[in-house]
């Protein structure tokens, strides 16, 4: 069996070069695998999933007797601050043809501008083409922030 000592100087230096090359490329490859893993382990800024519970904004964002459209998962949601101080929220997709509904301060009802559909503040379709009520959402006030989440009842 040939030993490293039998090798010529040229062979020895070639071997050392090879060892360095092999060692460093293995280290480099391992680093290229570790970099994504380490980045992955650090928690992202938005810790919540953003689809079952969503931070809609601050309480001050919506004045009394006004509404605001906020994103909720993959749909728009309507957050209403009623004239008597309650916060209500619904999935803002009209049950007729899918337009985005809005809050009408003058009517104090929810209105769809597409074909004049009207929903009351309980989300029930009371006038016009919409065939079904709006899907309600739960509103949670935590300090200054307003959170919306899907209703838990079946």
């Amino acid at each position: 069996m040939a030993t490293p000592e039998d090798a010529s100087p040229r062979q020895r230096s070639r071997r050392t070069f090879l060892e360095i090359f092999l060692g460093s490329s293995i280290v480099a490859s391992v680093l290229s695998f570790l970099y994504p893993v380490i980045r992955y382990l650090i928690p992202p800024a938005a810790a919540e999933l953003g689809a079952s519970t969503v931070l809609a904004g601050r309480v001050t964002d919506v004045p009394v007797n006004a509404g605001k459209i906020v994103p909720f998962g993959q749909q728009p949601a309507l957050l209403i601050h009623t004239a008597d101080g309650r916060f209500l929220a619904f999935v803002a997709v009209c049950t007729h043809l899918g337009c985005t509904v809005q809050y009408r301060p003058d009517l104090q009802e929810i209105w769809c501008p597409c074909h004049n559909g009207i929903y009351d503040l309980a989300g029930r379709n009371v006038s016009g083409p919409p065939p079904r009520p709006l899907t309600p959402l739960e509103v949670h006030l935590r300090g200054d922030s307003v959170y919306l989440s899907r209703t838990t009842s079946g």
């Binding site: 090879l18 090359f21 293995i26 290229s32 728009p76 501008p113 004049n116 083409p129």
Partner: protein, 410 residues
């Protein structure tokens, strides 16, 4: 037979004999009555019988007795008599309360104001009376899908006369309404999509009080559903102008029966535009039309640009559903802009356009960012693959050098 027994209300404890039906189902037309259609009708289900309308005696098998005027037999009713006959029950609230308290009882009064009613009173026997639309012995509730006045069926019922050029000849009105309506977006919504709230003939013309709305009332009729457009129109310069020229409001541009889904080409100065029907080059309306059309086109193009970028990213596997949701809001803005066209005011339309463009600027940038992310991924992969290739090369060389110094062993 069992069905007949079950359908009879409690006030009639047992099925009374019906000799009228017994004989007439065996006769030849026009005296033949189909017992199946009678048995399925709402009048039969509510406990009425032949005698309720025709009089006579349904218990007697002797035709002389059964059809005796002394027993109240009225025989075949003339068309003139029919509305009055139906009204005898249907316009009496105290009577109808027994069967359906929420059913209206003003149909006859409405009918008298209709074109059909007025012509009938003048002696025209060819116009529609109650039985022409509702049926004779097979009348069903209008909520029954088999009824000729169920929303999906109304247009066809009207078309029986109104689409027949030979029949309508003496009246000198068009007979293309049904054909036009079936090409309309309202018909598509009603029949293809199944949206029963979509308008049919009776929605705009009235059912019992059927008459064309009249030039001045068109906007009111359409605004029942299309509120925003009507409000904007009423504050626009077109309102006064159309009134002065006695143009029929919405119908002027959108037609009355063949209302198709308008495209952006409707607006502006192109070949398909309605604006150039009145406006010529040089007048302010022409310029406004051109500007509005250009604005709409800008936003539509920007939305498409963002959409195609995001689709590209989505197909390559990047998660873009949040941005696509935002782009949906830009689409909402475009729709509002198209509604705002009815103000015929560039600034009003522009408000929505600018809101939409702000969103598309953001979504386009987000789209570019996702493409950058894709490039970043591929670059990262390249780096990794290079290191792997080097490692593979190193290993292979190692194998080569070490196998030459380690000859095969036993």
């Amino acid at each position: 037979m069992l069905g007949l027994l079950l359908a009879v209300p409690a006030s009639l404890a047992q099925a009374p004999p019906n000799t009228c039906l017994d004989c007439h189902q065996q006769l030849d037309p026009p005296l033949q009555i189909n017992p199946q259609s009678w048995l399925g009708s709402i009048h039969q289900q509510k406990g009425l019988s032949c005698v309720s309308c025709h009089g006579g005696d349904a218990s007697s098998t002797d035709p002389e007795q059964a059809m005796s005027p002394a027993r109240g037999f009225r025989g075949h009713l003339t068309r003139q008599q029919i509305p009055r006959l139906c009204a005898d029950c249907h316009s009496r609230a105290d009577y109808m309360r027994r069967f359906n308290p929420s059913l209206r009882t003003d149909q006859y009064a409405q009918y008298l104001t209709s074109t059909h009613g007025r012509l009938l009173r003048r002696g025209d026997q060819r116009v529609a009376v109650c039985t022409d639309c509702h049926g004779v012995h097979d009348i069903r509730a209008h909520t029954d899908p088999r009824s000729s006045v169920y929303p999906l069926n109304i247009a066809r019922t009207c078309a029986r006369c109104h689409a027949d050029p030979a029949y309508m000849k003496p009246y000198h009105i068009p007979t293309d309404q049904y054909a036009s309506y079936t090409a309309s977006v309202h018909y598509h919504q009603l029949v293809d999509v199944g949206d029963l709230s979509a308008p049919t003939c009776a929605t705009c013309h009235g059912s019992h009080g059927a008459a064309p709305p009249g030039v001045a009332s068109v906007v009111n009729v359409c605004s029942t559903c299309h509120v925003f457009q009507a409000q904007l129109f009423e504050h626009s310069p077109h309102q006064a102008a159309f009134q002065q020229m006695q143009l029929p409001g919405c119908v002027t541009c959108h037609s009355n029966h063949r209302i198709v889904h308008p495209t952006d080409a409707f607006v502006g100065t192109g070949s398909e535009s309605v604006c150039v029907r009145c406006h010529a080059q040089g007048d302010p309306g022409y310029t406004a039309a051109a500007t509005i059309a250009a604005r709409l086109s800008t936003l539509a193009t920007e939305i498409d640009r963002s959409a195609s970028l995001l689709n590209q990213a989505a197909r390559a596997g990047v998660e873009v559903s949040d941005v696509q949701l935002e782009l949906g809001q830009a689409r909402d803005d475009l729709m509002k802009a198209r509604v705002a066209v009815h103000s015929f005011n560039v600034a009003t339309v522009d408000q929505n356009i600018q809101a939409g463009l702000e969103i598309t600027r953001r979504t386009y940038r987000a789209g570019l960012d996702t493409l950058a992310e894709l490039r970043y991924r591929r670059r990262g992969l390249a780096v990794s693959l290079v290191t792997i290739a080097c490692a593979l090369a190193g290993l292979w060389l190692w194998i080569r050098t070490h196998s030459s110094s380690h000859p095969e062993e036993d």
